[in-house]
Symmetry: D2
Subunit: 365 residues, 4 copies
């Protein structure tokens, strides 16, 4: 909700009448009609890019300055300049960079907000979700579904940094936000995640799984696997076809989480995407390569480790500046929430007459 309160008084009304309305907790709609139902889509979110070269040093310094025991989660939050004091990257999405040092442990908690991670740097850390231990290697994508106990640990030798994405702003908007108190001692991890044994091939699912049935059969998508899949798709796709893979629940084909979706994109050397705009907002992380994105009327250049925001309904293109190497982007969005609320819409600039502006073969809710 827009924090700047709207006017609830109509100057043309008799003051006594207006006073009476106020006493009764009533307000005339007509003073605010076009603010409440505006003739143009509006967003307070602004396009913004955080450079990895700016982020790394403050993260390492935070690790020196703040003990993990005190911080619980040692995170620098990416605050959209259009949403001051909101700790939000977009109106619905929270994003932050978390750092953990060898031997440290972030204690177990759980909350109604959903979380996901994209590993940026370092090896040897892990996330444990309800006793299932997920290795964290750079580029890996890991989800922490709502209300499941999770903690982080580190058995390696160097700092590990990852990008956290949560739907905290959305969950706060609907006043359904709640977290458990921390648990100092976590249950020991007893299993590795299913991406290593039960979900290793397309179109094949265990008839009977050895994991507990939680509705989230896969919680980790190793980058090694995802990158190979992107490369295979890029190798034979027609020249102009986008190379984008969506993370889905392999048992249902639906988004793994109800509120946040994610995709991995491969940009061929020199490729520039068609302009699109969507009612969803996005946080984009550069896994590898360098390039630039046009978001509304701004151009954001980027390289590996950078993060940038695409506000809703902004025309957007992405371009790989390299003529030799691919570039890979990780997209985090609120598309599942908007779809299930019936508010999803997408347009493609230059879509031919009669061509649907929404892509074919999309996951449908």
């Amino acid at each position: 909700m827009n924090p700047s309160a709207l006017s609830t008084r109509d100057a043309q009304l008799p003051a006594a009448y207006s006073d009476r309305l106020e006493v009764l907790s009533l307000a005339p709609l007509w003073t605010a009609l076009h603010a409440l139902l505006p003739p143009e889509r509006q967003t307070r979110v602004v396009p913004h890019r955080w450079r990895w070269s700016d982020l790394r040093a403050p993260l390492l310094e935070a690790a020196r300055l703040v003990p993990i025991e005190q911080a619980e989660r040692r995170v620098l939050v990416l605050c959209n300049p259009g949403l001051p004091g909101n700790f939000s990257a977009t109106a619905t999405l929270y994003a932050g960079l978390q750092i953990i040092l060898p031997g440290e442990a972030a204690p177990s908690h759980h909350h109604t907000a959903a979380a996901l991670r994209l590993i940026v740097e370092g090896e040897g850390a892990y996330t444990t979700v309800d006793g299932v231990k997920c290795a964290m290697e750079p580029g890996d994508f890991i989800i922490t579904p709502p209300m499941r106990w999770h903690d982080h640990g580190h058995e390696g030798r160097e700092p590990v940094i990852w990008l956290d994405g949560l739907d905290i702003p959305l969950v706060r908007s609907v006043e359904a936000n709640w977290a458990s108190a921390m648990k100092p001692a976590s249950p020991p991890a007893t299993e590795t995640d299913s991406s290593q044994d039960e979900f290793t091939a397309a179109g094949l699912v265990p008839r009977q799984s050895r994991y507990e049935e939680t509705g989230y059969p896969q919680v980790r998508w190793p980058w090694r696997t995802a990158r190979a899949a992107l490369a295979a798709m890029a190798a034979t796709a027609p020249r102009r076809a986008p190379v984008v893979l969506r993370h889905v629940n392999p048992r249902t084909g639906e988004y793994p989480l109800r509120t946040m979706g994610s995709e991995a994109r491969w940009l061929r050397p020199g490729e520039e995407t068609r302009a699109e705009r969507r009612t969803a907002s996005e946080v984009v992380h550069v896994i590898e390569g360098q390039g630039e994105s046009r978001v509304g009327d701004q151009t954001l250049d980027w390289q590996a480790g950078d993060v940038f925001v695409v506000p809703p309904w902004h025309w957007t293109t992405h371009r790989n500046r390299s003529g030799q190497a691919p570039a890979c982007l990780f997209h985090l969005n609120d598309e599942p929430a908007l779809r299930s609320l019936g508010l999803w819409q997408m347009e493609v600039r230059g879509a031919a007459e009669g061509e649907p502006s929404d892509c074919k073969n999309e996951v449908r809710k």
Copy 2:
């Protein structure tokens, strides 16, 4: 989103470091962790009741003071005292009372927000949704799905007042709010609504409808029909069983709208309901009868025409004060949105051991 900005500075950090974070649009999570992930469910919404005896006169006065041409929609908005300047009844729901005089017409528009109406007083008005004309009689429930042209007219002899419910606050929260400019001339209504000919019996749907397939086969639930169904249910239900009917799409059994749900409740003479609390918020309108509701630690007495708000996660009971007559309540809620976002939860006080706290036979998304 909570409009009171959170602190983004940690007093224990070196000022130079904090300054640098600020310049970089970063904030330390640990200063706000428990505000962002609070240990208790929180809401700014407060229980509140608007009395019909307070509302009717200001509505009639608004009709005298403000021409419909100028107001476009002549509505007094029910503003929750906990959400000043928000034009909101709860964090997700907008509610207002609209008045239209004989011969007036509220021009056609459409918007991404979903709307619904519950007729409070008067006869002869109608709503037209994409050329389908819905009669409005007291107690009738009518939906206006997102992005469908609709206008209101009046062929009767006395003022007509209804309760509007919209999901504007929710749609604003996800920045997907948008409305068309008004259309001065509406298309003439060509058909009456399907509740009069194609949807008149339980468990029977047309193999082939004469109405356009829009995904909203039924847009009106006449009170005459709904009241008879409540009375039939009450006549044979066990003494302690709640008598509550949910409005559903008869072709799918799902909520007619994706974001807002609604129910009609019958309270037997003297009946008091079991205490429940839900993550959903509610706006309740009294169709007939008199009684009181306990909402959190407040008691709200009510009679026909009154409206009150139930904030999320407040223990709530409803009581019919009459020993002779039934009381009927109309409940508007954001349950469909919370369910599809995975945030729905409900508890029943005194539910027996082993009894699920959620009701059996609930609509499931």
Copy 3:
């Protein structure tokens, strides 16, 4: 399966080779390829009509000749002349007329086959399904889902006759047919069916039902209600639009049973329907009126109480011969089974170019 065994020998092959194949339980496909995958749709079922005037006397005589204790179910089965010895009306559907006398009781049993009834004549009988007692009045439609205990009783004064429909031939085809032994003593009925209290209006379902959750919330569709709904639909439908209501589960909008569907059709005075053909087969019962149906190259005239069969993929029209009174047909079909097996297809003769041959607004599985 076609009972006439196909030839498994190819006369052109060396006899020794053919003998060897036979010993090995092998057969050359090419001798039977076009019998197994024929170039035209085939059916052994023939159009056939049973006249009520022929059926009634033998039913009454059966009631005299055979005690209910001995018969368990006193039924004359409608045997399609194209399927001798099969006790089948079509390749998938069984149909029979059952008679019960005042004071008699048909003992409780259950089976994997699904059953349904359409009451033809008489008052005072009832069916009990898992302790829920369904009154039987002429024209009422009642389902008995698979594996639910059910019995029939009679508290009235005259013989009661109804049409039974089961999916026995289909269930036998997939070798999933099984029935319990009879239970001599049935559990006493403790409740009336939900069509009398919880499902009495379109688009309204109990939030919390007083009935056990079985997946079959509604088991009876009273004719009084269905006829009124047909009349309402006929009153305003465009002249050429078919007036057909499908029985659905009011909680899901889907067919009440997984294998058999049913519809009630209203033919206006003098109306003749458009020719259609479907991959489904049908058993049609005349509830009221008189007319004739063209099925393939046969014309079947009918009046109240008659039953006739429409084989798969036969062009079919129905005509009301009366210029004054409506005619009402009850259609039982295997459409749900064919849809869920991916084998449903329908064509409308004279459908305009570009018009889909399947009807809009159809229930979709």
Copy 4:
């Protein structure tokens, strides 16, 4: 349907009455009640095994004796001894072994029956489905959905043999069987199948596919991939947990076809499975290894290339006789059809008290 016609006469009835019933195409139910609704599950299908060592020579001989142009499909059909003249492996499933020589082409046709292939021997052949060319390597699994044009060709140097599975008996039972005339000239294959570029990893699907949207995004499951997935699952699964992977549509998690399901099973050295019985019937092909299966009261030993039948509701165990090497089975069944008809049931012998007899994590329709 059981081809042995049931008796439609009751010897105890007066002959004149019985004659009259016969003339009227009526039959007394009570003479056939327990045949139509039997107190035990019944099947005419018998357990049977075809040895690869018996099959290979007749197949090569068929290739010598019958030109492909004449046979159209050069197949030896596996005829269940319990279903003489039916060209059926079970009551619902057809199975046959097809052989194609280098340079041959089986012309294009399509039909309402669904088909699938499991490659047994040889390299260089391919199946083309609507212009998409699927390579055939031993162990590969390929589906041909209903009503899609398909042909087979061979660019290699040695005979290629595969197992065909179709739902012909089921489709014949519901009289929905139909095939096009052959097309002598097939459209040239223009694309390789999606398992090579778009579906190469678990839980990742293209946002926008380069393939036409047909509802069958994946039509080939390479054995190389499936075997690696089985090995990964076996490597970490608890000792007693079954290692079985089901083929699913990666966009929906559902069976790729509506009527037939399939699974690949890994038997660890020496492993013996728990006894299970199912209402589904099965055709099992041995991809590698050697062992034996107990089916009802018969023991069938097997090695690579063998095929055997499991009739419905027969207690079944599988055992790997080797102490060193794994064994791999391919299971073809009619489970999707039985599930969608509501007739699926499964029991596990020795399932602990309170343990559901159906497996957890099963695909649900």
